[in-house]
Amino acid sequence: MFGRGLKTLSLLSVALLVGAFALVFFYAPNDADQGFIQKIFYLHVPLAIVALFGFVAGGIYGIKYLRTGDRMHDLRSYVAIHLSLIMAVGTLITGSIWSKGSWGHWWLWDEPTLVSFLIVFLLYACYQPLRFSIEDPERQARYAAVFAVIAGAFVPLNFMAVRMAESLAHPRVLTTTGGAMPGSMRLTFLVALAGMAALFVTLWKYELASKHATFRLRALKRKLAADDETWVPNPRRSAAPTL
């Protein structure tokens, strides 16, 4: 059901990511201000953008689940949020490294994008505990969808509030993603962004396929066991949705 196109997609994301890193190291010029350290930008910003879109996609699938009651949408929402959380950790780590490299501190409170990201990360970190602490699968899916919708709406509001709170004292690279970048940097950045997006979609589809296969297998095992009564359900609980 989810296997279709996976091979092409995997090859595409490998090609895009390898191409992006080749461009980062051999084509894009060193930043006049920050030198080599600025190249972490091609990893950090795509990670952040893809993670944010993933969170919002989780919210959209949450709405779809609430409207239709189709458990596949809940699974899609769960996997999108789960992958975005991992990418958010990557964003926070690379952001911290960049901050140390170019400003000399591991953490800067006057970098609003990074601070907003931390808040969003803290909020979404409650997603799995929330799922885990509701036993009834139907209710778990419904509540998780409601959470995903609220948190999805919170993301832009939070970015606005945090950005307003800071005085924007130092020159910022993050605002120049489109405008002031020279062409070679912009091309590299766009390839890196496309690569990261392709990686996200590939991983998303892989996990959906894997979860779906697991559920099918479990259902078949249960059917087989009905004959000889030897089958025992898997005692390990997880926060993942069940179908």
């Binding site: 505990p129 929330l130 509701i134 509540y143 959470f147 609220i150 606005m160 945090v162 307003m164």
Partner: protein, 224 residues
């Protein structure tokens, strides 16, 4: 819908009057927090940013106590089933509970701000009072809406008391940013500064977005 909201509000207010639970706890908690802040900061008087920060952190933590208790009676005494059996709009429960939380917060804040002015605040509290009331009212609306949503989510989980602060605190970061920035000049040393319109706008936008969202989505938390 208005009758249902009024009936639910009456029930909750009567419960709280007959056996006060949430409100006294919130008031006492904020008093202890002020004492803690006094010793932790080793300051006899605070003003400006520090005063605004202490006030907002205390308010938020006190609000979490109220949010934790908001739906407990409904869950333990079967109030949810009773409500679902009644032929009324489900949003009525949300409106009633959010109004109740707003009223609790307003009531607590009367004592809280008085105690704060008495115990910790350096400058006189009278000049900034109208501005403070406006900011607190806008923030209360936001806390009431988000708190009701979080309470309704958390009350059905096993880790109820754990989840409420974990979800509610990150969600209220925009409120704290706008509230603290707006009140800091009000509480500044040497006379109250002006109230900045953009923070009021931020608070209003927050209330509006989450109010509409809650209105649209609350029904799903009751469906059974």
């Amino acid at each position: 819908m208005r009758h249902a909201v009024a009936a639910l509000l009456r029930k909750d207010l009567r419960l709280e009057l007959r056996s006060p639970e949430a409100v006294p706890a919130m008031v006492l908690f904020s008093l202890s927090t002020f004492v803690l802040f006094h010793f932790a900061l080793d300051e006899a008087e605070v003003s400006g940013n520090l005063a605004a920060g202490i006030l907002w952190v205390t308010l938020l933590f006190a609000a979490v106590l109220g949010v934790n208790r908001l739906f407990v009676a409904e869950r333990e005494e079967g109030g949810f089933d009773g409500f679902l059996l009644a032929p009324v709009d489900r949003t009525a429960l949300f409106v009633a509970k959010a109004t109740l939380l707003f009223a609790f917060l307003a009531f607590v804040e009367v004592f809280m701000v008085a105690a704060f002015a008495f115990l910790l605040l350096g400058p006189s509290p009278w000049a900034p009072l109208p501005g403070l009331v406006l900011v607190l009212a806008l923030a209360n609306a936001g806390i009431a809406v988000v708190g009701t949503l979080v309470a309704a989510i958390a009350v059905q989980t096993r880790a109820r008391d754990l989840l409420v602060p974990l979800i509610a605190l990150p969600l209220s970061v925009p409120l704290v940013i706008a509230g603290a920035r707006a009140t800091a000049p009000l509480l500044a040393d040497g006379g109250a500064g002006a109230l900045e319109g953009r923070w009021l706008m931020t608070l209003g936008l927050y209330d509006l977005v989450f109010g509409l969202l809650a209105y649209a989505i609350f029904d799903f938390l009751l469906e059974d």
